[in-house]
Amino acid sequence: MSRLFLPRDAAALALGAEAVGEAIAREASARGLSVEIVRTGTRGACWLEPLLEAETPAGRIGYGGVSPGDVPGLFEAGLLVGGAHPKRVGRPGDLPWFAGQTRLTFARCGIVDPLSIEDYRAHGGCEGLARAVAMGPEAVLEEIVKSGLRGRGGAGFPAGIKWRTAARADADRKYIVCNADEGDSGTFADRMLMEGDPFLLIEGMAIAGYAVGARQGYVYIRSEYPHAIRTVRAAIERARGAGLLGADIAGSGFGFDIAVRVGAGAYICGEETALLDSLEGKRGVVRAKPPLPAIEGLFGRPTVINNVLTLAAAPWILAHGGAAYAALGAGRSLGTLAVQLAGNVARGGLVEVPFGLSLRALIEEWGGGTASGRPVRAVQVGGPLGAYFPESLLGTPLDYEAFAAAGGMLGHGGVVVFDDSVDMAAQARFAFEFCAAESCGKCTPCRIGAVRGMEAMDRIAAGTEVARNRALIDDLCELMADASLCAMGGLTPNPVASALRHFPEDFRSAAQAAE
């Protein structure tokens, strides 16, 4: 029996992986060959999808960008033994694109069958939880603090402090909530992990539950990710069967279980307190802080709410020690960052590297420049609320503090590249439009400010009282940044102000241009 590996990650499916799988089955049967097709997640080289791999004595040999029409020729070329073919890329791990990465969180993604607990164990899974229950909750908290792990959702708050706060809070019950409402454009790391290695997230949540004394976990997944929802639900079932979840996790005598909850298309629910309200069955409206969720969170109980990647980092930290994790990275940004290279880029996908790599190295060395072949003009980092950087700022290292110093933010690690055809006035207007559409409506600066900003942008585009409207936008940006209740209104000025500052030529109206 020959074995082939074919991703069923949404990105691979979007590029025809299902039809490739059907073509392989047809061709194998026509040739009387016995072939097993293992469906994996993606390794993250979206530009190479569908990436078909054959198990050979020399390792797994990849064939990139395979279409159903390629399949007969691939068999002819000796696909099952790694034969030569124009689409052959060799061992994927040897490609510079992968060899230059440091895969901790995404080590298994694209390699294992996401729903095989045996596969998970064979590739180092469950070691973190086993070590955690052997050392006791207090020592687990110590390791997380020592690792320097910071929240990967965007705010970068130290995870160990959050966990310790919830652990020390006294309550009848506590919760672990996973924020999988990955709404930022340009980000897909959470989706990729949930589809490609869901047991890692489950193990991370179980470690968090054990450390803080929470018996119930929720994964709040956005409805735009139907494949991730199905995979995580199936993985939870299997994790219960394998003792990773349930009344006695990993033989500790401690009980922990997880349920999946599905969002309903509201970007604001990625904000942690709005997510908690949504989980409680309410409108996703932001809460004022304090109280911190770690003290008064879901249903008023102490709650650790962390991003997918934060929780998924915990098993590695527990298995290898907090100090080993902290040895990676730069400054106060320790460990690895899962960068998502997206938009107008030739070789987009997920790049996990220690903090500190420059934006330029990422875009040029990994991304291979733009997909269109035109020059890079603007790069938006950190989602729709992140700043637009011009060419001159591409030397900025990927590091929370360095990005803040350059007037931007790293956020959830999404990097969206635009070529020179971009209209930055349209991008700035879109930032206000998006905020107006997605504001929860609780605070006035965000709810009203975004609408007024959009109107002022339209007047500038029409050449009406340009100077006055520019002043109004500056004023609105200052007000929204200072007086909004949460990051939605507070950060919308980032894309607007950065577009105005770095690309002023795009804001001259047609009328001015004619003058």
């Binding site: 340009g186 897909f188 494949h227 309410k282 729709p384 635009f418």
Partner: protein
């Protein structure tokens, strides 16, 4: 108590075939089954609304009172949640739903022009349904397919690296009566 409210839903829809093609009492029974299935879960409103929409294709106004009653909420609270979230519809969609991404990564690959062209050709705006009731086009802000933009979901199935001709083919297939 719940039974009484479900009965009033029957009255509200009595005499006309429901959108699921089932007679109204069957709708009420389905709703009751959904409510019973979520009776023990905490903060159950969103899971209930998702289940209702999956069953009926939208959240019927007549379902609000029984849901509120079962979850010990006011009708205003339930209606407030339905109207807050983009996903919940108060009327049925077309037979196919195309969710086109409008977010930045897709914009960087020409998504804006692509969407405008498709909507113009179909003669609808965002959220609109073609005259033959075949296709609804909705805006979505990011599908996590940002490295292979522009992207869309057609009836839950992802498609990416869309260009004009590819989108035309998708729409034509979905639009067919």
């Amino acid at each position: 108590m719940r039974g009484a409210h479900v009965a009033s839903m029957d009255q509200a829809t009595r005499g006309k075939a429901s959108n699921t093609g089932l007679p109204a009492p069957a709708d009420a029974a389905q709703l009751e089954a959904i409510l019973a299935a979520h009776a023990d879960s905490e903060g159950a409103l969103l899971p209930v609304l998702h289940a209702v929409q999956e069953t009926f294709g939208y959240v019927p106004a007549a379902a609000v009172a029984p849901i509120a009653e079962a979850l010990n909420l006011s009708k205003a609270e339930v209606t407030g949640v339905v109207s807050f979230y983009h996903d919940f519809r108060d009327a049925p969609a077309g037979r196919h739903v195309l969710k086109l991404c409008r977010a930045e990564a897709c914009q960087a690959m020409g998504g804006r022009g692509l969407a405008e062209r498709a909507l113009r050709r179909l003669g609808i705006g965002w959220g609109g349904t073609t005259a033959n009731g075949a296709l609804t086009v909705e805006a979505v802000y990011c599908l996590g397919l940002c490295a292979i933009a522009p992207a869309a979901l057609l009836d839950g199935e992802p498609v990416a690296r869309l260009d004009g001709p590819a989108l035309d083919v998708l729409c034509a297939r979905a639009e067919a009566p």
